[in-house]
Symmetry: C2
């Protein structure tokens, strides 16, 4: 017997409609690519999203057609989010920082019908166009006055929008309809597309606003530094209208000075981004001897947040750090680190240690850790295993079946190795493919790298597993020394004593000139494993 509540699907268009009705004059402020600050309201954004919906329909865009974007965080990008998904099309945000060949692959694989781009990316677009024959139109996100000269026959965004009325009723869509698409680029294989639905997006947006997640309200001013081409700016363009928070978009200027200027002028209370961006910001703030006037909290994720960064934000500037963990495949939020009652009574040192964990699961995300045989491991904060997740905003397969069935018995293997404690706090200890399996036990390559990095002569360290006749694998440490610094193999190995378990200490050290990285700055361990697979460990 079914319940007797209204059968209303969760639709993305409801977000901008709600913001219009209940927060119509709340502002959306954007630093534009053309120069200067643009400001308007949720009512304006809703009106122009409807105009865009009419424009897309007139262009022949049909349900489930992919609409590509190569764009910064800005109001026009927001309009594309709602205008495209709202008519049942798929908003496909492309990461312009990838190599052009990857972008070409992605645009063609997604079969984008139109591609909207900020002026910054005109040179890139001109490079892509000859290889992306499926794209029926390239739309410059600007007005007629700023239209560039180009070898391409470009469409002008403002002309498109202004040519259509705002008389448009959002269609009621099946909530399982695809709404947006974002490719994730691993270190191996082709990029794979994660295809979100209206349902997954709305459920994630609710969860993201919770007090123990991003804690968003109508009193917040949110500046997403994390790009709208990176897992939908962690969902903030959806969560902000859900609660009626003011949105501030930084455009292309992500340097510390530009961000701080916006933080202060727009009275930003909440921000979100990866550690790298905060590094630049904190350097600027320190150099200028200034602080944050209104910023209350910032979400840090994408990679593990350095403990020192948490302490600087909290202790020096009074800004709460929300250490978070997620993945493109998780929409992206999985965990956020916020205290429970009892933690407020802990010692400072204990609380600081806890904050280095990636946090606890939001309701809607189930987590477990398993060993090599898929057996669930205890939630004791010590055992570590492959982290598996499950929930309504988690990928079940990639776009067009790429990479086959990614699930293990209905769970998504994150590729991370982690611990879970009895309070539900998760801490990532390694990547699954990087963990070193020695004599049936697991050694965390990241723990070893962190230990090595503490050595005063070490600029960068990488640890990989090398085949071993007796132990299956043993760790090899690769070290790039600081300029002018010197140390020895023996000194390095001695340095680990007391820092890690004795049997974790690497079997050997190699000093290198350079360590290889991916386009997004991560250590490229696949290459290291290939380069050093013939390395002979002492005693092996």
């Amino acid at each position: 017997m079914h319940g007797l509540m209204m059968n209303l699907p969760l639709n993305i268009s409801a977000l901008i409609q709600h913001a219009d009705r209940c927060h119509g004059d709340t502002e959306i402020v954007s630093r534009t690519v053309e120069g200067g600050i643009h400001r308007y309201t949720y009512s304006d954004a809703h009106r122009r999203s409807r105009q865009l919906a009419n424009a897309l329909t007139a262009l022949g865009v049909k349900a489930s057609d992919r609409i590509g974007t190569l764009a910064w965080n800005g109001y026009r990008h927001l309009e594309i989010y709602f205008g495209s998904s709202g008519i049942g099309a798929v908003c496909h945000t492309v990461n312009p920082r990838l190599f052009p060949e990857q972008i070409t692959y992605i645009v063609n694989h997604a079969e984008d019908t139109f591609l909207f781009f900020d002026l910054t990316f005109l040179p890139l677009v001109e490079k892509l166009a000859p290889h992306c024959k499926g794209v029926r139109g390239w739309v410059a996100m600007t007005d007629r006055a700023h239209m560039p000269t180009s070898s391409l026959d470009l469409l002008c965004y403002e002309d498109l929008v202004n040519a259509h009325s705002d008389d448009f009723e959002w269609p009621v869509l099946d909530e399982n309809l695809a709404s947006s698409l974002c490719y994730t680029s691993g270190t191996t294989g082709n990029p794979k597309g994660v295809l979100y639905s209206h349902r997954s997006t709305i459920l994630h947006a609710y969860a993201a606003c919770l007090p123990d997640a991003l804690n968003l309200s109508a009193r917040d001013v949110v500046l997403p530094v994390v790009p709208m081409f990176h897992v939908n700016a962690w969902g903030l363009p959806y969560s902000a209208p859900l609660v009626g928070a003011k949105l501030v978009f930084p455009g292309a200027q992500l340097d510390g000075a530009s961000l701080v200027e916006l933080f202060e002028s727009e009275k930003v209370t909440c921000s979100a981004g990866v550690p790298t961006i905060w590094l630049g910001l904190l350097q600027h703030v320190k150099a200028k001897g200034i602080g944050f006037g209104t910023l209350k909290r910032t979400v840090i994720g994408g990679s593990a947040c350095p403990p020192a960064m948490i302490r600087t934000f909290e202790d020096e500037y009074g800004v709460q750090v929300l250490h978070a963990w997620g993945m493109t495949e998780l929409s992206p939020l999985g965990t956020v680190n916020t205290f429970k009652s009892r933690h407020l009574e802990w010692s400072e040192a204990e609380r600081h240690a806890l904050q280095n964990k990636q946090g606890r699961a939001i309701f809607g995300v189930e987590m477990k850790i398993v060993d090599d045989e898929g057996r669930e491991l205890p939630r004791d904060g010590k055992a570590f295993g492959d982290l598996l997740v499950r929930g309504p905003w988690i990928t079940r397969e990639y776009f067009r079946g790429e990479g086959g069935d990614p699930l293990a018995d209905g769970w998504f293997p994150t590729g991370d190795v982690a611990t879970l404690d009895q309070d539900g706090f998760m801490q990532i200890t390694d990547r699954s493919k990087d963990v070193i399996k020695s004599g049936g036990e697991w050694i965390s390559s990241i723990d070893l790298e962190n230990a090595a990095m503490a050595h005063p002569s070490v600029a960068e360290a990488a640890v990989i597993g090398i085949a071993h006749p007796k132990w299956d694998e043993r760790p090899l440490l690769l070290v790039r020394l600081k300029e002018g610094a010197a140390t020895t193999r023996e000194d390095m190995l001695k340095f680990f004593e007391g820092r890690v378990a004795k049997w974790w200490i690497p079997d050997d050290v190699v000093f290198v000139e350079n360590l290889p990285h991916t386009a997004t700055g991560k250590l490229l361990k696949t290459k290291l494993r290939e380069d050093f697979k013939a390395h002979k460990l002492p005693g092996a």
Copy 2:
């Protein structure tokens, strides 16, 4: 094209499972009917809910069978919430404060298979049993030692639970399956059942926790004074495990002294209840010259919160009032009154006036006001009309089709008359059936009653519409005077001058000994309209 996220239904069992996994040792504290305080954890609650699930299954309970309860807020009631809905049965909370004939009607109409009751209600149950032949078992919610002697062949809750293991896997249920049932008793006709689904319950639980709704986190200690038989205690038994908040259940003792004792001993941070209950509490606190040590906020709804009560809580005791509005048909939350950024800059008087409104819609609830012809009225804070709502946790029809199709073009008519302002704030001005329609314009009976109540001689006032040959309807004021007080018709009518628009002033006054009320204490205006339908207005 569908999105490629996991097809996982929203199930109520996931709430208690999440709380067990991530907040296993967070406490649930109950004042028991047998006497004394009971305390255990979410892990215990989950374990015993699974035992109960086995017990219910062994009793032959099938999917969609109704399980009735006549019970206070307590841990066993919580176990029944999860144990019954978790196996696909329907948790039917019956209001023990209704007249026995109404309860008999409800139990029989719902076709309850088993009825669980707190010892308080044994006399009631013995009265009901002969008339409720469909009930296969009456379960006393106590242990063997406290089992009462009774003319009935009672089952013992603890015996049931203890006879079964906790080895139980919650089934994966269609999220549209009915999960719980709550009857609403209007002033006319039979009580009507509102049948919630797993989906509506989970969506409502997410929304209720939002910062601009009840703002619930793992740092909260929640004491629902609002009964679990009254729209599921406004959803708190679902929202608290969603975020891992500690729960405190007051049992049968809802007097000020007992509540304050629990507030202080359990460090309650958040509570919820109707104005009447807070009146007793505030009187106690004032008489004792004490305050609230840890209480940060309290949700007040069920009927309009008197402005003086908001001021007392906030100004004298530093407790934030969350003025809220909802209905059984809305699960129940529709609106909550929380400020936006701009309101923080308003004058105190302006903010206080705003707080008297019922608040703004949570995302998921759409609202509009319409005139007699169903035309939408402006959201200007002035126009008032019938309030219609729509959303995934709002009733589309009543259980077993009672009362026919309640919807108007897909919207649920709340039966309230309200204004909506440009910020989305709603204020109820009357009940639809009580509003007086005079010469094509509407007059709020509640505004007139409030104005009359300000007269020093008036104990209680009611205003009803009386048929009028020229104006269709004109207001008649019925007044019960304070003991020993005296006033005249002319004095009463003069009192309205300057307080309401001239054409709103009632045409006549009748002084009465008593005004009729419903079982839940509301003015019974249907009876008044019947009693006074022949009343001749002067000049009519």
